[in-house]
């Protein structure tokens, strides 16, 4: 495994947390190798529980461990974390006001060759409906590490989308983060790109280069926390730029684009375009193929931005 892979950073972060706090425990559902957490198991075998291919039980057991005073992290592919174990996460973990940290790996097109059955384009929407749940998607190793550290000590459940493989580095090592507070990566005055996750923050930054070279002043925000959404930052950039393009590796329905649209509609109606998957199921392919297939590219973001600027 490449040490720069996100899963390696995730595992290392959990190890550092577990070294300091014996309440940290880990649950897997026969995807420990995929999650990259075997190194955690090797160091803390008694605090690692492989529950087999039984995600509903895994999430329920995590809730029980939390009720017993532990801080459980539970990992599986995002499709199973969200769709298959939803009622367990909803009732046993969230409704019970417990403290389960659920990680859904391979968000959206990151599922690549696993295809449509494994490609969650809906998990943000599913999770956003749970009262009080913190939903976030780090975009690079630094934000992953810092946000996981925060989620461990957030009182209540969290859901994190984890891109497992190597990604573009966005932040310097010493960057600080706060769950619920977006990060301004580029400032600008004509339009704001709001993105989340490894795939789309990188594409948004590439789109910034395209647009910037054409003389368009573009702000780029990494909205790593989808819930609670950073309303203040959105309103600030509504005033400043008067237009938004959201960029998500997810359906445009119920995800980041919807969260931003709701915020804008209620506070400061502003022109908006949403780049994301347009009401479709996933399919197999390479990451590059799938990004093209579903329009999750810098070129499409740039094109949509220009369309939006015509309306302004």
């Amino acid at each position: 495994m490449n040490q720069l892979e996100m899963r390696a950073v995730y595992a290392q972060t959990l190890i550092e947390l577990a070294e300091k706090d014996e309440r940290i425990v880990l649950l897997e559902a026969d995807l420990m190798k995929a999650s990259g957490t075997t190194v955690f198991k090797n160091l803390f075998p008694e605090r690692t529980f492989n529950m087999g291919v039984a995600e509903a039980n895994m999430v329920g057991v995590a809730a029980g461990l939390s009720a017993g005073g532990k801080i459980p992290f539970a990992d599986t592919f995002g499709c199973f974390a969200s769709r298959r174990a939803y009622d367990q996460f909803f009732i046993s973990a969230n409704y019970a006001r417990l403290n389960v940290k659920l990680t859904g790996t391979d968000p959206g097109v990151a599922s690549e060759y696993n295809g449509g059955t494994h490609m969650p384009f809906e998990d943000l929407g599913i999770m956003r409906n749970i009262p009080g749940l913190v939903v976030f998607e780090p975009c690079d190793p630094v934000s992953l590490k810092k946000l996981v550290q925060q989620s461990a000590y957030h009182t209540g459940c969290t859901y994190m989308r984890l891109h497992r493989k190597s990604v573009t580095i966005v932040y310097p090592e010493d960057e600080e983060f706060e769950l619920g507070k977006g990060k301004v990566l580029k400032d600008g005055t004509d339009v704001t790109l709001i993105a989340c996750g490894a795939v789309m923050v990188a594409e948004a930054l590439k789109a910034w280069e395209i647009l910037n070279s054409e003389g368009i002043s573009v702000a780029v925000i990494d909205m790593h926390t989808i819930k609670p959404i950073d309303t203040g930052l959105i309103m600030q950039y509504a005033e400043k730029t008067g237009g938004f393009v959201t960029c998500e590796n997810h359906q445009t329905i119920n995800g980041l684009g919807s969260a931003v649209a709701e915020t804008l509609a209620e506070n400061c109606p502003t022109w908006l375009k949403r780049v994301g998957v347009n009401d479709e199921f996933g399919e197999v392919g390479t990451l590059d193929y799938l990004k093209e297939r579903f329009g999750l590219t810098a070129q499409n973001i740039a094109a949509q931005t220009k369309e939006l600027l015509k309306k302004k």
Partner: protein, 267 residues
């Protein structure tokens, strides 16, 4: 024990009758097992419900909450007057067990099948904390239709959770009819045996039989225990006992009071 169980049964019938509707059938079938656990076996502290070192109960068939509330009120976890607030707006005693609302409730339940997983998590947490305290779990026979029950059955045996002592309230009825007609779960003993549990089957209204079964279960050193309780749904309320529609039924308060009087007279 029999006297105590009669008191608990009367409190339960009264609470549901006072509201006028409730899950009376499955509440009354677990009165004896709850009484046995809370008055003989469980180490709990009404003055400190969240005490770290304690035995815990997960009532996975969360709709039997009113029976457990009667026990907890009688034990002094909260005032007995609360029982008349059952399911009223703002109550601390909701239909299904809620650990955040009710002192003495160890796990929130209500979506069937989920309690077994939570109980497993509680036992694993105890194991990490190096405590031998028990976790008791009560599931329903209709609930045993749920796939999660069997995911949990596999996991508890795999992790050799001898401190998990479970009961199936086998009252033979579920909402739409008899269990064997809606979704047959037999051979229940053989199923739990095959999953690697120590299985016993006893009369769920006999304190002597259940007590011996719990004592035997406590001696297990590597297997989780399943004690299948042969019970009668609606037990002890003349208007509900063995009635196929007793899962969640309207209960006239005068009828409820009459049922309590009949219990006092020993009928």
């Amino acid at each position: 024990m029999e006297v105590k169980a009669k008191e608990i049964r009367k409190l339960t019938i009264d609470a549901i009758g006072y509201l006028g509707v409730g899950h009376i059938g499955g509440a009354l079938s677990v009165i004896e097992v709850l009484t046995l656990l809370y008055y003989r076996h469980m180490d709990v502290s009404p003055e400190d419900p969240k005490k770290k070192e304690r035995d815990k109960l997960v009532l996975s068939k969360g709709h039997a909450g009113p029976a457990l509330y009667s026990v907890l009120a009688d034990k002094g976890f909260f005032p007995q007057e609360w029982l008349h607030t059952l399911n009223k707006g703002g109550t601390r005693l909701p239909s299904h067990c809620d650990m955040n609302r009710t002192p003495g409730i160890d796990m929130t339940t209500g979506s069937l099948g989920q309690g077994i997983s939570a109980a497993i998590g509680l036992v694993l947490a105890n194991r990490l904390d190096k405590t031998e305290k028990k976790v008791y779990l009560i599931i329903g026979d209709g609930e045993s239709n749920e796939g999660q029950i069997w995911e949990g059955a596999m996991a508890a045996a795999h992790y050799k959770l001898n401190n998990l002592i479970a009961f199936t309230d086998h009252n033979k009825m579920q909402i739409d009819g008899y269990v064997h007609e809606i979704m047959n779960i037999e051979d229940l003993d053989a199923k739990w045996n095959a999953f690697g549990w120590f299985v016993q089957r006893v009369n769920g209204h006999s304190f002597e039989d259940m007590d011996m079964a719990v004592e035997r279960a406590k001696k297990e050193i590597y297997r989780p225990s399943m004690i299948i309780l042969d019970t009668i749904k609606g037990k002890g309320a003349f208007f509900a006992e063995r009635q196929l529609d007793n899962h969640n039924m309207n209960v006239n308060y005068e009828t409820a009071q009459e049922a309590c009087r009949l219990l006092d007279r020993g009928n």
